[in-house]
């Protein structure tokens, strides 16, 4: 070829084709179904829309859903990191079983999880009896919701951390140690920065999953208006009254908040990765 094209081209071939497929699949699988929420909401008009999404009960539900999801994923971050660490770094009998157990919340129908929790923490259940002695109520409180969400989100954190931890060679820690770093310094300066992007991804996944979780939560939440009604339940209850538009309105706001939060988390992650490169 004699003339070099001015246009800068990607070195990898097939960009156009693969990008085309990506856009097509994302549209068919994600964008088109979700846009129905938008189109269901539009005919209702601005004022009824605002009325539907700013009703005190709906606001309380949003607050509850986001705060319980936040605390649950925060807990998952710590517990998940620890679990991933143990699975990757140590050899012990029954490790394969432990490894498989982590995935169980993925496979279990969430309603089953909800029923298990509700039975366990009810006044007649094992843990419910103990917690009642301490005058601590778990079932039908936000604490119960957080517990269910911790269960649901846990595997996301473990499974995103595991491969990164496996790649992290022990030699790096050893050299840090031989250079005089304390254990805490090694963890804080060497291990954590390396793990942070994966940890953030895992927590984000757990968080996103928790906001939408319905099946397991309704069994343990108690569903009291203003107190323990989660946002997805508000959607269901509007649907049960044949209020399709109102349900879509609540869903739309939930979707928008979730999307902007996920976008922000992704941005943090990118920034973080650049900072450590």
């Amino acid at each position: 070829m004699s003339i070099v094209k001015n246009k800068k081209r990607n070195i990898l071939p097939g960009f156009g084709l693969s990008m085309g497929y990506t856009v097509f699949y994302l549209s068919a699988i994600v964008i088109v179904p979700l846009s129905m929420v938008f189109f269901n909401t539009v005919p209702m008009g601005w004022e009824p829309f605002m009325q539907a999404v700013t009703a005190p009960r709906v606001l309380a539900a949003y607050r509850l859903s986001f705060s319980t999801a936040f605390f649950a994923s925060l807990f998952d971050a710590v517990a998940g990191l620890l679990t991933a660490w143990v699975i990757v770094r140590y050899r012990f009998p029954g490790k394969a079983i432990l490894d498989a157990l982590v995935d169980l919340p993925f496979a279990l129908p969430t309603a089953v999880a909800g029923i298990c929790f509700a039975t366990l923490y009810s006044p007649a259940g094992w843990l419910g009896e103990i917690s009642a002695k301490w005058n601590l109520q778990i079932i039908n409180t936000p604490t119960g919701i957080v517990l269910a969400l911790i269960f649901i989100g846990f595997p996301f954190v473990v499974r995103t951390l595991q491969p990164v931890l496996e790649e992290l060679e022990v030699e790096i820690e050893e050299s840090a140690h031989s250079l005089g770093a304390t254990r805490w310094q090694t963890f804080r300066r060497i291990i954590l920065p390396h793990l942070f992007p994966a940890l953030l991804t895992g927590v984000t996944l757990a968080f996103a999953r928790s906001i939408g979780e319905y099946g397991s939560v309704i069994f343990i939440a108690g569903n009291l208006p203003m107190k323990t009604e989660i946002a997805p339940l508000m959607i269901m209850s509007k649907l049960d009254q044949f209020d399709y538009a109102g349900a879509s309105a609540v869903a739309l706001v939930l979707l928008l908040i979730s999307f902007s939060m996920l976008l922000a988390l992704n941005a943090i992650q990118e920034w973080q990765q650049k900072a450590y490169r």
Partner: protein
């Protein structure tokens, strides 16, 4: 994410299991088939009724009929029909849910006039279930608002049965005091004693009977008998209040769908069959109150005398009740907003 093959397969298998394929819509080709879309607690009732009807139909016409059932929360079932589930007949917990189907033009607006007795071949009412020996001495509606009593009832926004519970309590107070304000205060005090609002009637039953929450469960009369049968009459007993509501769970033919399937004749015969003495006996055996006086007399032991009032005496009709009490911003929302 690291997912190896075994994991992927387990995941796929469990997803398949969870999605659950609705029973046998495909298998019906030769024989005429009806789909009866009903609410939750009627599972056992319609199993017996269908068996009896199929025999009756065979004898009368020589044709085999297949009747498929679908059960779920009444409102959810109505929504499924509106969204395209091709029910030939609907047998739901309350008229409002069938009204909603009528709104989408699948059946005539005056559907409730088409069959005898408000299109309800059986009725029921709302009673209490308490723990054996009635330790909290619960006798009537007024005992439910005593501070410290814990009452289990589902959420009227998501459960048809819960709406009957609510209206029964309201009606009792309004009839007693002639004052809607006092009825509202009563309802507010009652729901203050409710620690959990399950989304459906079965959920509340499990909360009360299995998880041991609450001192009293407000329930359908037939559901109360089922609890005694399932969990043991040595653990629970039924308390009938002095006054309660006459609950009429109606039945209707979905005109658009039977015309499309060519099943109108069969559907009509099926619903009319529910009024026959044989079907009325089955109804009473399942603890629903039969319309037929002879059947009611035969099973009188199951149905204690309760003063039953009609929904229309207090709330005009279902549409009005729904609008005033259960719509967003309605009375039920108001009692929870400070």
């Amino acid at each position: 994410m690291r997912l190896d093959w075994t994991r992927k397969i387990t995941l796929a298998a469990s997803l398949l299991l969870a999605s659950g394929v609705p029973a046998s819509i495909a298998e019906a080709a030769a024989a005429q088939t009806l789909l009866n879309v009903s609410y939750d607690p009627t599972r056992e009732l319609y199993q017996s009724e269908n068996a009896a009807f199929i025999k009756h139909w065979q004898k009368k016409t020589g044709q085999t009929a297949v009747i498929n059932q679908s059960h779920g929360g009444s409102g959810k079932q109505a929504r499924a029909v509106i969204d395209g589930l091709e029910a030939d007949v609907v047998t739901l917990a309350l008229a409002y849910d069938i009204d909603a189907i009528a709104d989408s033009k699948l059946l005539a607006e005056n559907w409730q006039k088409k069959l005898a007795q408000n299109s309800t071949p059986y009725t029921s009412t709302i009673v209490f279930v308490v723990r054996k020996g009635n330790p909290k001495k619960i006798k009537n509606w007024d005992d439910l608002v005593t501070p410290g009593i814990s009452v289990i009832t589902p959420n009227p926004k998501t459960s048809g049965g819960a709406r009957w519970n609510y209206l029964a309590a309201w009606g009792y107070k309004q009839k007693q005091t002639k004052s809607p304000e006092k009825a509202k205060a009563f309802i507010k005090a009652l729901y203050k004693n409710v620690p959990v609002l399950d989304t459906g009637a079965r959920g509340s039953t499990i909360t009360f009977a299995q998880r041991g929450l609450g001192d009293v469960l407000i329930a359908w009369e037939n559901e109360a008998h089922l609890i005694l049968k399932e969990f043991g009459s040595d653990k629970f007993e039924i308390v009938s209040p002095s006054v309660s509501i006459l609950a009429e769970p109606p039945v209707a033919i979905v005109d658009k769908n039977v015309d499309k399937h060519g099943t109108r004749k069969l559907a009509e015969a099926y619903l009319n069959f529910l009024y026959t003495p044989q079907a009325q006996d089955i109804i009473a055996q399942n603890y629903y109150r039969p319309r037929n006086p002879a059947a009611l007399k035969k099973y009188a032991a199951n149905f204690p005398k309760i003063k039953l009032f009609n929904l229309s005496e207090v709330f005009t009709d279902w549409r009005t009740a729904q609008k005033t009490h259960f719509k967003d911003g309605g009375v039920f929302d108001q009692i929870y907003t400070p």
